[in-house]
């Protein structure tokens, strides 16, 4: 297979098979079907077939289509900037802190601003952890403080100063109208305004957080779905060790 010209695969290499679905705000009918097919062709799909045209009511129609994508991707040229750290086990992390950093570290977690979804940050911070992976509270070398839900940025920073925190672990789950971007940007702005940005590692996580988005918004790292406490801890301690 030519990895410089990667294509979707259905049952034959290079068939480019793609499944698409969307709703158009028009009534069901031949014209609607055509509109869907035109759109598919503008999405670079060839020989598309409408396999479902379903009226949702008088003025909306839902389509499922299959088509052959004639675009390719050069897989060999993809270089994802990886977070620069080695995964470690919890006990290694603790030894690393003790040996390399020589002091306990303090980490504050919070869902900031309007977000109240604590399950994710709890999974990282709390004793119980996630999927049998214990949270940072269980790490003897980490002082883990979880502020929970809907914490205003100001309150979080006050706490961070008070505790002399090494790192902030921020969780954002709600993304409608890009509220997460707004909330996350606000936090960084306040940190910078207070000239605190350089004093701590700031990490964000959540189901729709990607490393790239995190970087873009000025965070030191971003963690997506399925993160375990030791993932972020490994990154954090190695990052602290570099400073």
């Amino acid at each position: 297979m030519d990895l410089t010209r990667l294509k979707p695969y259905g049952d034959t290499p290079g068939d480019g098979m793609v499944q698409v679905s969307f709703t158009l705000p028009i009534p069901v009918g031949d014209e609607a079907r055509h509109a869907a097919l035109i759109l598919a062709s503008r999405m670079m799909l060839k020989d598309s077939k409408v396999v479902l045209m379903q009226p949702l009511d008088d003025s909306f129609t839902y389509f499922i289509l299959y088509g052959h994508c004639d675009q390719t991707v050069d897989y060999t040229s993809i270089h994802v900037a990886k977070l620069d750290y080695q995964p470690m086990t919890p006990s290694d992390i603790n030894s690393f802190i003790a040996e390399k950093l020589g002091r306990k570290i303090t980490v504050i977690g919070a869902c900031v601003e309007s977000d109240a979804h604590t399950v994710g940050i709890d999974a990282i911070m709390n004793m119980k952890g996630y999927n049998m992976h214990k949270g940072l509270e269980s790490y003897p070398q980490i002082n883990a403080i979880n502020l929970g839900a809907q914490v205003p940025s100001e309150e979080l920073l006050a706490k961070a100063m008070e505790e002399n925190a090494d790192a902030l672990l921020i969780s954002q789950v709600v993304t409608q109208r890009n509220i997460h971007v707004k909330n996350l940007t606000r936090l960084i702005e306040i940190l910078e305004a207070e000239e605190l940005r350089e004093q701590m590692v700031v990490i964000v996580g959540g189901p729709h957080i990607t490393p790239e988005l995190a970087k873009e918004l000025g965070y030191d790292a971003g963690f997506g779905p399925g993160t375990y406490p030791e993932d972020v801890a490994s990154f954090l301690v190695q990052f602290l060790n570099k400073d």
Binding site: D58, A116, Q150, Q176, I179, P225
Partner: protein, 519 residues
């Protein structure tokens, strides 16, 4: 019939313990009122309006009373007293207070008898509007008839009320019976009721009079077209719980999410504040014949659905007793539960069935609301549809009354038009294919399902007895619900809790509770 064996003795003991728990709380809160209750009273007295910068008059008035420590006698006392003594309308009195033209403490005290008579008169007048709406709604429900149970309940959450209408109408045309308009993220923490129509909400639209009206009208129209009554749902929770109850009552909502503990546990609202607010708001809702939906399903998003199943059951008993103490009747109390056991667990469906069937039998008159899988939904929208299919099957088998449809895109975004369609199609098919399945099967004696129901019930009783012993507030402070602990004097809104004076007056309280759900 697919029934589980439930030991009547355990059930009555559980109910007794729950009554004890609720009574103890009510006794404790009887000596207190909250600024939210007082705002509601002022609203019920007919005082409306907003300042030019959008602050509701009721807030201005009660804030002043709070600041001047007047709330202990009840807002009604001061306003009615002033109206009597100045011989002006309540509205005029309110205006003067707001614009600083009248110092309520300076008004001479009226004759007690006259005050009471006036109070009663005003209260009856205040409730008339609710009574009217209640009977209008009842008439329309009777006229149009309702869908078949389990009623199909879907949410709209675009953040724009006009778009919500578009989505709701389509859902109705596809078979939805109940539309819940999801509320703007964190509105529950606003200490006032906002106004106007919302088009830029996050996670939902603001609950406002105008938004309620827009949707109510749209649904009445859609219901007439569809030939069945369409139920409208919103939230009666947060720091404005009692006012939301009034808003719902007057704008003809059919169901409101209202839980005795949700605010404490999930919004970190102060316990006393929540218990007082829920008590009064349920009196209003019962009187208005607006059903409530409780929020036990939420426990299973933070606690494990299998290990902590009994906390749901225990909480349902407590929520029921709280509602009854507020004057509601079982037919109005839509207790909540959910299909949230981890799909990796072997026999998960059997455990879900045990729980779902038990809830139905424990609360046979309650329009219980069954919530779909949410926590273990993933970005795999195809597989999500399968999880929802088993949820639909469980609901059909156990004859649930209100069925909140799961969305394939649960883990991704608030529902889009086609997500809701796919979900309704799924549900219509499964309900139809399994129409009489629940009547057709029996659960093996001493089998997994029977044993599970017995186990959960027994654990619920243990828990209820422990809670009765230590008191509900202490129980919450120990994290006994949802694995979340809240402190008795922590949380938001504590500053709005006020010890009542001996001559505290609230003309509505008894009137509402007495008439209550029986109408």
């Amino acid at each position: 019939m697919a029934e589980v064996f439930l030991d009547d003795k355990i059930v009555s003991k559980a109910r007794e313990a729950a009554l004890q728990i609720a009574k103890d709380v009510v006794k404790e809160i009887n000596s207190k009122t909250t600024i939210a209750v007082e705002r509601a009273v002022v609203r019920l007295l007919g005082i409306e309006g907003e300042t030019s910068d959008g602050v509701p008059w009721v807030n201005v008035i009660t804030d002043k009373m709070l600041a001047h420590k007047l709330l202990d006698r009840g807002a009604a006392y001061w306003l009615v007293n002033a109206a009597i003594m100045t011989e002006r309308s309540l509205q005029e009195v309110a205006e003067d207070v707001i614009f600083g033209k009248l110092d309520l403490t300076k008004v001479p005290k009226s004759n007690r008898q006259q005050l009471n008579r006036m109070m009663d008169l005003l209260a009856e007048e205040g409730l008339e509007k609710i009574t009217t709406v209640r009977s209008q709604r009842a008439a329309l429900r009777a006229q149009l008839g309702k869908g078949e149970e389990p009623l199909k309940y879907v949410i709209v959450a675009t953040g724009n009320i006009y778009e919500d209408v578009v989505q709701a109408k389509a859902a109705v045309s596809q078979g939805a019976d109940i539309i819940a308009v999801i509320r703007h993220t964190a509105q529950s923490l606003l200490d006032y009721v906002p106004s106007g129509t919302e088009t830029e909400g996050v996670g939902g639209t603001l609950a406002t009079k105008e938004n309620f009206q827009v949707m109510r009208q749209a649904l009445d129209k859609a219901g007439r077209e569809a030939g069945r009554y369409i139920y409208l749902t919103n939230y009666c929770s947060g720091l404005c719980m009692p006012e939301m109850a009034i808003l719902g009552a007057i704008e003809g909502l059919d169901i409101m999410l209202n839980d005795s503990m949700y605010g404490v546990i999930f919004r970190d609202i102060n316990m006393s504040r929540t218990f007082i607010d829920q008590h009064f708001s349920r009196a209003i809702l019962g009187f208005a014949d607006v059903n409530i939906n409780t929020g036990e399903d939420n426990y299973l998003t933070t606690a494990d659905a299998y290990d902590k199943a009994h906390t749901v059951t225990a909480s349902q008993f407590i929520n029921e007793q709280f509602a009854i103490l507020s004057g509601m009747v079982p037919e109005q109390i839509g207790l909540g539960h959910a299909f949230e056991i981890c799909p990796d667990k072997a026999d998960s469906f059997l455990y879900e069935l045990a729980q779902a069937q038990m809830v139905r039998q424990l609360f046979p008159k309650s329009p219980v609301k069954y919530m779909p899988p949410t926590k273990y939904m993933t970005g795999n929208i195809f597989q999500g549809n399968v999880q929802n299919a088993l949820f639909n099957a469980a609901s059909a088998i156990t004859h649930q009354s209100v069925h909140l449809l799961g969305m394939p895109t649960e883990a991704i975004h608030t529902p889009h038009l086609q997500d809701r369609y796919l979900s309704i199609a799924n549900t219509n098919y499964v309900f139809h294919a399994l129409k009489h399945f629940g009547d057709e099967i029996e659960f093996a004696a001493d089998g997994i399902i029977q044993r599970r129901a017995a186990e959960v019930l027994a654990n619920a009783l243990d828990m209820l007895e422990e809670v009765a012993n230590i008191g509900l507030m202490t129980a919450i402070s120990k994290g006994m619900f949802a694995d979340i602990a809240r402190q008795v004097d922590g949380g938001k809104g504590l500053d709005g809790v006020v010890e009542k004076a001996d001559d505290y007056l609230n003309p509505f309280e008894n009137m509402l509770k007495e008439k209550g759900g029986k109408g």
